[in-house]
């Protein structure tokens, strides 16, 4: 027992150092993702890492997080600065405004953040307060992404969300009023959901003043509570998605990514960094990162995270090097998530002309032409292509 624990420490130590030095070798902008793994309770469809929040637990976690930040700070070069910061969860709003104040201040002091950086916090309606908003304002948070899911009480009840529709309205209104660029997450493909009820949720979000909408189809992944006994009667996702692709652009929201619509200039720069394979420093228990052609994940339980951070500063639990052909294929898939698609020059420069040709030929040969939009400069998916993106990606992955 003791020796296997020791080995693990050695392993974490080794892996974290490796990621740290990758961080050190980048020059220029990078993104930071910070995971806050606390929830009031686990939603039945969620397979994400989270634990119930306890006052002492949050405090302890924040200490560890700070330690982890310090660990990576030591590797950072002078040139590099964070262009985006994203606090995701879990439910980040379960941290108290005071805790937020401390965390944001600590980040500001120990991570070089660009003056123009986009800083996003995920908020859940049941725990988001005006005091959070005020603290975030002071801490330079610019975006708030709210886990609305639906503005229909029946939907929220069925999803076992801890908030109702009026709470969701309040949350969005508060965030908009405080001057944040607000995004709302909405879910479709729910039981008893109709196109009419979906449309009303989308319209309410727009009327409340969001500038960005992320829409997700409910999926029952492995590891969630519903996985063992999936609910029946879930609506087919097609009409909801199809309608949104028609409706949102008419309201000025263009679809810039598979699941994301925004007003001009209001796309999520942090998420866009993912799709462009820009470097991401992932922090916190269950966080993911991407540095120097390596994708990595942190320890996924609070105990492992704590012991790893205490012993060696970082908590990297696994690294997957992605280079060569694998990197090119991954890049193509990620780029095709977005409306900007693959730029031929940039792609061939980064991954080689041969890979570009291979991928382009496959798509030209196997994909229906109304799914692709090709110019002399690049290739992207049409709205129809986005609807069947999985099938297209699996051709080239």
């Amino acid at each position: 027992m003791r020796s296997s624990r020791w080995k693990r420490m050695k392993k974490n130590n080794f892996l974290s150092d490796e990621i740290g030095s990758s961080l050190g070798s980048i020059s220029g902008p990078f993104s930071v993702y910070i995971h806050i793994p606390f929830c009031l309770r686990k939603c039945p469809y969620c397979s994400f890492f989270s634990v119930p929040a306890t006052p002492g637990g949050c405090e302890k976690y924040l200490d560890l997080l700070k330690k982890e930040i310090l660990f990576y700070r030591a590797f950072l070069g002078k040139e590099s600065e964070a262009s985006t910061l994203y606090f995701g969860g879990g439910t980040p709003t379960l941290l108290t405004p005071e805790q937020w104040e401390g965390l944001l201040a600590f980040c500001g002091e120990n991570i070089p953040i660009s003056p123009s950086a986009e800083i996003t916090v995920e908020a859940n309606p049941e725990s988001f307060t005006e005091r959070h908003a005020a603290v975030w304002r002071n801490g330079r948070v610019s975006r708030v992404s709210i886990g609305v899911q639906s503005f229909i009480d029946g939907d929220l009840l069925w999803l076992e969300r801890p908030h109702n529709a009026s709470k969701a309205c309040d949350a969005v209104l508060t965030a908009v009023r405080e001057g944040f660029s607000v995004s709302a997450d909405l879910m479709f493909g729910l039981r008893n959901q109709t196109l009419r009820s979906w449309a009303s949720s989308v319209k309410i979000a727009l009327e409340l003043g969001v500038e960005h909408i992320s829409l997700y189809q409910l999926t029952i992944d492995e590891g969630c509570r519903w996985n063992s006994s999936p609910p029946s009667g879930m609506a087919d996702g097609y009409p909801f998605y199809r309608w949104s692709q028609w409706f949102l652009p008419r309201k000025g929201f263009s679809q810039y990514e598979i699941a994301s619509f925004s007003l001009p200039g209001r796309h999520s720069r942090h998420n866009t960094a993912y799709w462009r394979r820009n470097p991401v420093l992932g922090l916190g228990a269950g966080g993911w990162g991407f540095l120097g052609e390596k994708r990595y994940r942190n320890e996924g339980s609070l105990e492992e995270y704590a012991s790893s951070v205490r012993s060696c500063g970082g908590s990297v639990a696994g690294i997957e090097p992605v280079s060569g052909e694998k990197a090119a294929r991954e890049a193509a898939v990620l780029l095709l998530r977005t409306k900007w698609g693959i730029s031929f020059d940039a792609f061939s420069h980064k991954y080689g002309q041969a890979m570009l040709d291979t991928i382009r030929d496959t798509l030209r040969r196997e994909a229906p032409c109304d799914c692709l939009s090709e110019t002399s400069a690049g290739l992207s998916l049409t709205p129809k292509g986005m609807r069947v993106a999985n099938a297209l990606w699996s051709l080239i992955v």
Binding site: V280, V388, V397
Partner: protein, 603 residues
């Protein structure tokens, strides 16, 4: 034992009419088996038989019996396989006997199978002793059954034995009657050896064991014998009798039944019906009635796991050591990979073989729907034996197609006659005759294409007559029919695995069923996929698999790209394992489902 004290007899009975239990009682009564060693249905040689309660063939047994006249007799019980697939084996077993017990269930009456075998016994000159079994059951109606045996079979039932094998009633009467009625075997013990093989089995230690009835002469260890049909010459290593295990003895002489072991490696060298003679002093001619049985029903056997191909081959080889009527040859299927095309005597034979492969050799396999062999005469006068649709030439080159036909006789309660006639007509049957066996039972005779019979005739007959009909059939040869090959095209490309042969009149109907089925089985693709059925160049049915409308699960938790990529890679892998027909990916399961449900199409 002197010939005059030997009685060789068999039991003719329908499945479930109590043959195995009756045999058990005879063994007990003659103390052939001590009570201590008695297990249920001791002569059912295969586990499978005991379990399914159907007996394909009982092992033979020699019983000693002291009759009421005070003399000791030897009674040899030889079984007849109780299923229509094994008509030839029945005839050989009958040929080894001088008498037969005709066992009829007192609650059921005479069934088609029983009648056919009884007639065969009469034809071969056997003395028939009618036995009505299960008279203990409350629903038994012996009087009715007696009348039926008299009317239908035409046997005199003045001395019918009423028995209950279960309760041991009538057993002594049966033994006594066998001694009294069944003639003692004839044959000249000093003549050159003639012994008929009525069965052979493979034993891991002894090699092939031939079950024989000595007709003339004598056979003993050390003798050199010749198999007159195959020409094989072997030394006799051991002769013996069935007790019911193998018990060696010095010699077997004319009239006796027993076994011979002579260093033969496969049962294919010892055909049922062949005559064994002395190599040094051969008989002038073989015993009559020998023929080589030919498989009539074919299907593909494929290992569930592709890597198990060699294992399946070994298992089939071992199985044919035991059962030379099975043949097999390698075959490749686009859907199922490497496997074997296997020929069987009939559907039950096929089923049992499949089950034995599974149980005795531990091979999990997929069986394709059974089919028959067609003869195709081409316009340039050639003759093609078509085992599968792809063997058919282009429609323009075909002069005539011939298919195997059977004469089927059905015993049906009058209330179901209409339904059964409809069934026969649906199956392209040609009416031959109908006669009343009893006021409420009818015998229907039809000529039926074997191909139609093997699809699902049995099941349909059972369900439409609630199990009250029974049938027997015999092959009557090949007959020309207006048969066509229906091709299935997926996205314009012919998909071999899905084509089939059927009558021109049902081409549209079955083509539609196949296309509909495929439409369900082929998942949506990026493109709309037309599925067509065609005869020659002419498309007769078309349906489209609609193009994929939506396939995007966008969730990408906090940048867990790895997970997303793995999912996509898995999807791509899955696609690689699918069979590509043009641009269309068809999952393995679709082929399997198609092959296995083909028989349901017409329902």
């Amino acid at each position: 034992m002197e010939q005059q004290y030997i009685r060789n007899f068999c039991i003719i009975a329908h499945i479930d009419h109590g043959k195995s239990t009756l045999a058990d009682r005879l063994l007990e009564s003659t103390s052939t088996i001590g009570l201590r060693d008695m297990k249920q249905q001791i002569l059912d040689s295969l586990d499978l038989e005991r379990e399914r309660g159907i007996t394909i063939k009982l092992v033979p047994v020699k019983m000693n019996y002291t009759a009421k006249d005070g003399r000791e007799y030897v009674l040899n019980l030889i079984d007849t396989p109780g299923h229509v697939d094994f008509g030839y084996e029945v005839s050989r077993s009958l040929a080894a006997c001088e008498g037969a017990l005709l066992v009829v269930d007192a609650t059921q009456g005479v069934e088609a199978q029983t009648l056919a075998n009884a007639y065969m016994a009469v034809e071969q000159g056997l003395e028939i002793i009618p036995v009505i079994n299960k008279i203990d059951l409350p629903s038994s109606r012996p009087d009715y059954v007696i009348r039926e045996i008299e009317d239908v079979v035409g046997l005199d039932c003045d001395h019918v034995i009423l028995a209950s094998a279960k309760e041991g009633k009538g057993i002594d009467d049966i033994l006594e009657r066998v001694v009294e009625k069944v003639p003692a075997p004839l044959g000249d013990r000093e003549a050159p050896l003639q012994a008929m093989i009525f069965d052979s089995v493979y034993d891991n230690y002894k090699g092939v064991i031939c079950y024989i009835r000595v007709v003339n002469g004598r056979i003993r260890a050390g003798q050199t014998i010749r198999f007159m049909a195959t020409g094989g010459v072997f030394p006799v290593e051991e002769v013996g009798v069935f007790r019911p295990g193998f018990q060696p003895c010095d010699e077997l002489a004319a009239g006796e039944v027993g076994y011979v072991v002579s260093n033969i490696k496969t049962v294919a060298e010892a055909h049922t019906g062949d005559t064994i003679t002395d190599n040094g002093r051969p008989a002038a001619s073989p015993l009559p009635g020998y023929r080589k049985v030919k498989p009539v029903v074919f299907c593909g056997f494929y290992p569930v796991e592709r890597d198990d191909y060699p294992q399946l081959r070994d298992a089939l080889e071992k199985l044919t050591l035991n059962d030379s009527s099975i043949n097999f040859e390698p075959e490749t299927s686009v859907a199922l990979g490497f496997g074997f095309r296997c020929g069987f005597l009939g559907l039950l034979h096929m089923d049992v073989s499949k089950e034995r492969l599974r149980r005795e050799f531990g091979v999990e396999l997929v069986a394709t729907a059974p089919n028959v062999v067609y003869e195709v005469v081409t316009k340039d006068g050639g003759l093609i034996e078509a085992h599968r649709p792809s063997d058919f030439p282009e429609i323009g080159e075909i002069q005539e197609v011939r298919e195997p036909v059977i004469k089927i006789s059905l015993f049906v309660p009058t209330e179901y006659v209409g339904k059964v006639m409809k069934l026969c007509q649906d199956k392209r049957g040609t009416y031959i005759s109908m006669d009343y066996l009893a006021p409420d039972r009818v015998r229907l005779m039809y000529e039926l294409p074997l191909a139609e019979f093997i699809i699902d005739f049995h099941d349909k007959l059972k369900s439409q007559t609630r199990g009250y009909a029974s049938l027997d059939y015999e092959f009557t040869g090949l007959k020309a029919a207006d048969l066509v090959r229906v091709d299935v095209l997926v996205s314009g490309e012919a998909a071999d695995a899905f084509s089939f042969i059927c009558h021109r009149d049902s081409a549209y109907h079955r083509g539609q069923a196949a296309v509909r089925k495929l439409k369900e089985l082929i998942p949506s693709q990026l493109f709309e996929v037309p599925i067509q059925a065609s005869v020659g160049k002419k498309v007769i049915v078309r349906q489209n698999v609609k193009a994929l409308r939506k396939d995007v699960l966008a969730k990408c938790y906090g940048g867990d790209i790895t997970r997303k990529r793995k999912l996509l890679e898995k999807q791509k892998e899955g696609k690689k394992r699918m069979k590509q027909i043009g641009k269309v990916s068809i999952p393995q399961e679709a082929f399997l489902a198609f092959l296995q449900v083909e028989e349901d199409e017409e329902k």
